[in-house]
Structure formats: C-alpha cells, structure tokens
Amino acid sequence: MQSCRQRWAGPKRSTSCVPWGLPGAMFILYTFMMSVFAFAIQPEAHTGHCPYRGKHFKVEFRLEGELVVLRCPQMWSWAGISVDPHVNLTWRRNGSAQLVPAEEARMRVEDGKLWLLPALQSDSGTYICTVRNASYCGEMSTELRVFENTEASLPFISYPQILTLSTSGRLVCPDLGEFARNKTDVKIQWYKDSVLLDQDNKKFISVTGTSHLVIQDVAMEDAGYYMCAFTFSHGGKQYNVTRNIELRIKQRIEETIPVIISPRQTISASLGSRLTIPCKVFLGAGTPLSTMLWWKANNTHVDSAYQGGRVTEGPRQEYSENNENYIEVPLIFNPVTREDLNTDFKCVVRNTLSVQTLHTTVREASSSFSWEIALAPLTLVFLVLGGLWMHRRCKRRAGKAYGLTMLKTGCQEFPAYPSTIKEMI
C-alpha cells in the first residue's frame, strides 16, 4: 500500500500498481481511492517527484535590457502562495536540474517570483516553477520570449486596446504586476509612435498616480502604437520597464429607429386561397440583432390566436440591400377565411429606441373570377379595333384632303366634279 501511494506521486509510474486482471470499473475506483489517499494524508509523498500540472496558457513577450518578473502560474489558483512560509517554491529552466538561486544574481528568485535583472535574448525559453508543502506538490511551466527592441518585435510585444470613435476613453499600461504596488512612486511616461506625449497636451492626459492615458474625443488618426515607460529601482539600481499598446479605433454601431415599409393597409385576397403578407422593416445602418418583429391579430399574438396553425408567422429574414439592413417576417394564411376579413392584423417592430406598428386588413376580392384579369384582353381587343377604325378614318380624311388638293390644282385644267373625286378614292 505504501509503495503504491509513493508511486502515485509520479503519474507515469502509477500504472504499475494496477492489478490488470480486475475489471475497468474496479480500476477506476481503485485509482480514485488512491488519489484521494495520496492527497489526503502522507506528507512524505512530496519529497520525491512532483506531478506536472501543465503549461501556463499565456506566453510572456518582453524586451531585452528590461526588468522582467515572472509569476509562478500556480499562484493564480492559490492566492497568497508566496507569503505562506510553509510553501517551498523553486524555479528552474527547462532541461536544467539546477535551481535558480535566491541570492544576488542577474536571474534570481525573490518572493516566489523569477526576476531577470535585466532580461537577455538568451533567456528566452521555458521555466518550471515547483510548489511544495506538506499536502501539495505540483510543477507548472511558463514560457518567456525576449525580443530585441525593434519595430519587427511590435506584433509580439504589443497589447491590442480599442477605443470608440468620437468618445473619450483610456489606454492602460498593462501587466505592471510588481511595479504598480505603489503607483504613486512610478512615474509613467507615454509615447505615441516614439514621440513623448507632452504633459500639457489637452488631448492626451496622463493621469498621475494611475497607469492610464486618457484620450479626449478619439479620432481615426489616434490609432497606432503607444508606449508607456518608467524606471524601477531595485537593489539600488534603476531598470527600464516598457509596455507597448496597439490602439485600434472602432466606430460604434448605433441603433436606429425602425421603419415599417410594407405591407399596404388593405390586402385583397379570395376566400379559400393561400395568402402571404410580408412585414418588411427598414433599419438603415442599425443592427437587426436587438430588433424584435412580430405579428398580432386583434391584439393577440398570432401563435396564441390561431392555435390550430391556420394563420402563422413565417421565418424571420435578415438581409442587406445597398448596405442598408432590413428584416422581414411574413404572415401566412392557409387558407384565408371569412373570419380574417373582420380581424385587425398588426405588424409590430420594437427595439431599444422605439416601437412602431402598422395595421392591415384583408379585403375579399369579389369572387374567384377577377374582373381585372378578364377585362384586360377585352380592353386590348377594343383598343385594337378602335385603333383600326381610327386608322381607317384618318386614311379616308387624308384621301379626301389629297383629292381636294388635286381638285384645287387641277381646277384650272378640268372642271371639278365631286363624283369623280369619290371614284378616285
């Protein structure tokens, strides 16, 4: 039992304790009980190998020549770990058995953290922090990458921050950790594109005692790379610390007042037929997400009013035409009945700014035989006939006129007889 317990501390070797002949369920139960035992009692388990509990999810990107402090990743899940005198916390570089010393050295452990005074590019690599006390032992790794201070390093070392166009907002000098314990001691200077921002600047205000840079009335051209920098005294020496920020400017998507653009106030339909009335709403540049659109029948929601499903709402559609947003919800009658003629149908649209409604009624088309359709070819026939008649009349008149001219011109030579003119036509 004792040997099993000790072996459990190393997860790779724990399987040697498993009685392979037992069924799977027994194995799971056994492993579980062993793990409970291993955690609950014996302190001697942690004098040997410590289980590896994974890699810290963030990689630390820093600049050469600056002071860098790495926190043990396990400190996040165990607050106050570094101040607990019973906790033994050690650091080593991956692949090296040698622990980072606690005494005066460029790389040393202070208060459970790994200090690099200052960091060199050759420090890039993985560091392993081991936490050990009477009841717990665990190792976690964290990755550090140290870059040369050039423009090519900016995509790695920069923190993206976003502000909204035409408003005021703040940039924050991030991840100051140890350095910002006494914010009033740290005098942060702000740079935009490597140019120091003046203290008297009205647009950029560095708030003393904070790590903030307030930007008034943000404009598109305020986007770009910013840097906050300060010096930090440690062990009688001054070290530089900088953080880079890439500011992006976003335009705020405002909500707009929705406008119902269809249907018409009355819709003609014949009883017994299927009918679809779309309610179309114009939103302009506004977002469709928080715009609700629905139909009501005599002030009751369609779903409740027609539980049999004769009248239903169709699926909602959201689309854009010429960069303008629209939403549409159809009301579907299957079929139209006489009851619908006396019902008040209402399309309702609502967002945080406004509620709009549009009433529509269904009117019976007089019968299934539509006069409009029937009259169309008849009208066409009459028009053609009328046209032909007019054409003939015109031609006749034109002929008369021609005859009369002839008559006039010819009157000097021949006597004019209307009968002959008639014959000529």
Partner: protein, 177 residues
C-alpha cells in the same frame, strides 16, 4: 443489426435536434434565433479569457490575443440578453450562494434558452447603455452587475456595489465584424 440500430438512433437524435432547435426559437419571427458574437472589454481595456474553466479578465499580448473569448448573444427582448461563450455552449448565469450572488458558467446551449422563461431567468442579463459603454445586470439577481476586478487576471464576477472603485462594471460591447 447493431449498426442499423445505431444509425436509426443517430437519425432520431438528429431529428430531435432539428425539431428541438426549431421549437427553441418560437415565436419564430419575433426575435433572431441565431446567436451573434460580440467583443467585450472593460473600460480598463481588459478582455475576457478562460483559465481552468473560469472566465477571467486581463491583458492579452501579441499572439496571446487568440485566447480572447467573444461573448455570444441571443436576445430575448431588446434589452434582455442571454450571454454565452465558446460558440454558445457555456452560458453565464447568476446563482445564489448564501448572501452572495455568484457568476456561473453552465454547460447549456444558448439557442435552447428562452423556452421556459422562469427557469432560464438566471441566464438573462439586462443591458443598459450609457454613452459608449454598457452595463449588464442579472435579471434573476436584481442589483447585481457583471464586473471585473481592477487587477488583471482575476475572475469575472458579479457585484452589488457597481459604483465601488475596486470593481469595473462598464464594458465596451460591440458586434464582432
């Protein structure tokens, strides 16, 4: 015999899924059934990410920015929203724990919420806009607001003292484009 039975079972679960997702969004027209991803960051420029299945707020540098969690949103009403992360598979909720209200991440599908208004109330947040920023009050825990700590890499939580200087309750909240 076995494979055909399993195929049938899969078919049934697929049909159930299709039917389920259709019923989940009734009334079909009123609200959008789809979820929309939003970017969220507090007025101190902290973004959200997961650490040991816990939602935390902090600063993400360079390539770490890919860890940022977008907030998936399905509105119930214009101001009432369901908030989720991880493609809407984990939803934010307010759960009472003693005198305190705690923010939980529950493994429910965001598009399935809203069928039972009372039961799903703990997932509902009231959005209020003030200038460019937004606050989120829990609908089931009135007076409790979504907040971050001033310090980075601390859990996103709920506070009933939104004006306290040690918490941040004002967020930028924009549709992810």
């Amino acid at each position: 015999m076995r494979p055909s039975r399993s195929t049938r079972r899969h078919l049934i679960s697929l049909l159930l899924f299709l039917f389920h997702s259709e019923t989940a969004c009734r009334p079909s027209g009123k609200r959008p059934c789809r979820m929309q991803a939003f970017r969220i960051w507090d007025v101190n420029q902290k973004t959200f990410y997961l650490r040991n299945n816990q939602l935390v707020a902090g600063y993400l540098q360079g390539p770490n920015a890919k860890l940022e969690e977008r907030i998936d949103v399905v509105p119930l009403e214009p101001q009432l929203l369901f908030l989720g992360i991880q493609r809407g598979k984990l939803c934010l909720s307010c759960v009472k724990s003693g005198d305190k209200m705690k923010l939980h991440l529950e493994a429910v599908n965001i598009t399935d919420l809203g069928k039972n208004k009372e039961q799903d109330k703990r997932f509902t947040f009231i959005r209020s806009n003030s200038g460019p920023t937004t606050t989120f009050e829990s609908a089931s825990c009135p007076g409790w607001f979504l907040c971050t700590a001033l310090e980075a890499d601390q859990p996103v939580s709920l506070t009933n003292t939104p004006d306290d200087s040690i918490v941040v309750t004002k967020f930028y909240f924009q549709e992810d484009q």
